[in-house]
Symmetry: C2
Subunit: 345 residues, 2 copies
Amino acid sequence: MEDDMTQKESPQLGKYELIEEFAKFFDTENGSTVVGIGDDAAVTAPMEENVVSSTKVFLENVHFDLTYVPLCHLGYKVVTIAISDLLGMNAIPTQLLVNVCVSNRFDLKAVSELLDGIRAGCENAHVDVVGLDLGTSRKDLVITITALGECEPARLLTRQGAKENELICVSGDFAAAYTGLLLLEREKKVFLADPGVQPDFEGKDYLLRRQLKPEPRLDIVEALRREDILPTTMTLVSDGIAAAAMQICKASQVGCDLFEEKLPMTELTFVTLKDLDIVHTVAALNGGDDYELMFTIRQSDFEKIKKVENVSIIGYIKDKASGYHLVTGDNCLVELQAQGFRQKQ
Amino acid sequence: MEDDMTQKESPQLGKYELIEEFAKFFDTENGSTVVGIGDDAAVTAPMEENVVSSTKVFLENVHFDLTYVPLCHLGYKVVTIAISDLLGMNAIPTQLLVNVCVSNRFDLKAVSELLDGIRAGCENAHVDVVGLDLGTSRKDLVITITALGECEPARLLTRQGAKENELICVSGDFAAAYTGLLLLEREKKVFLADPGVQPDFEGKDYLLRRQLKPEPRLDIVEALRREDILPTTMTLVSDGIAAAAMQICKASQVGCDLFEEKLPMTELTFVTLKDLDIVHTVAALNGGDDYELMFTIRQSDFEKIKKVENVSIIGYIKDKASGYHLVTGDNCLVELQAQGFRQKQ
């Protein structure tokens, strides 16, 4: 199973020499990094007992569209997504392994831009790139990111363990990234119909940034440690609030009530969704790409959690028989439905 | 970045339920596995100080051809390749993370066959599958495998540290997998020209097995521990003996002589290559897909290494100025050239 991405692009450099060149992009800063790019495998010496790992695959025209995604932002985003999975376990990301497969549509400059974005994402999160492999694809760009992190066993949080009456919290605000995607898709259609028209994104910077260059919520994981709050469960919100809440409830064998009026959303998101004729609650519940954290805490941590910025309490845990519901503004109970998570009725 | 592989294939099951179903395929047997399939990330608690990790990406029609590769063998092979990278560091593989992206060309049965092969590969190597993600591709099958393993720091082997006069050893025999590939490609052409013709592989089982279902050399890593041999360097041979030897020499800043008559090859490989009009030494030096180990040992370990089965001494380390050479059967010195590793002249 051999391939050599360099056959067409760079007659001077072989694959291994190219990896050696690109390896110079990446400094390492973590004491736990032992062997980085360039050997058979990466070697780390974690300080904590638990190693947390996750691999994400990103395929062009499935997971991203280069029509409107700059390669450096894409690099930053795939790092955010990969390390966010670890944050969803309350772990601290430490290292990253990167695989990139390109066709001859991509030159070395394009690969450099992508790796630049990956480097920026890693620097921002103090994560070392310890693995780099380059390969050939038939046509589309394929990016794979493996994130490694660590956690004290006592602070490790799965989706299991939420109990009745506990509070359901989320970081940040929702549906901004989804709304940003709707704007980008709308302007793409306009552009395809008439390439002379300039895209209209005035005042929408925040929505575009949330879609194109999302930030990992390392600040939340760190703040919970600082304020000495140990949630009972935690998960990443990547496919909307509903799916995340139901994953915690299913794993913990409990139910939940979420409150429509508590779902955090910026005014800009709200107004833009209204202009786009989208029900804002549906967007918050089922929109994707937020990469915020959801966690449950004991009622006794209520005063402490108020000290953590950018966290909202959006509901509470009920018994299993109660099921999963949204309490609407006019006090109706609506059953939650999670996208990509069709329920057996 | 959402996708849902199940929209077309399985109207009854959502993505998360499908992962839950497939998770039942995989038992865990390692004490170091803490959280397996189904949460945001995998959690392990390595017994040794050093964690070794590697991610491999396999793209249909770049890295494998489903015309002649059965899905269950493919599953087994990708496990072998991924864990072989860790063996190349003298580490013991312990866990695996699996990502599979399919288009609607693949039904659930096909995915099951692939995962069955992955399971068989993991069982064989006593490795736990702790991560499983399923996604959508546009057309081609995309498989990503991340292997996690561990190693005592004192036994960890990089490519650095080989010294003059040390012996260069390899496990197994070479060019069988490459020869198997040539046979498969030949019969594919025959089949495409006339689909009525049955493929002719009589007596070639070993060559096909080496190509389609290679075994990881965990036995060698274990035997070296048993015989108390600590090599000075180690690497995986995946792109031929020449590339592996040159990688060790470059990292260690030394040169080497390899002996043509010492390169291990089965009679079957030799005869078949002759029939195919291929120079057998070139196939051993530059053929791919062997997944054997190369390592260097001190002269003082010569007696000990003879007790390890399936290991051949093929040359020795020289000083850097001597360069990298093959000593041919008629005692000529030929400069080594590594495929995919073009040298600056």
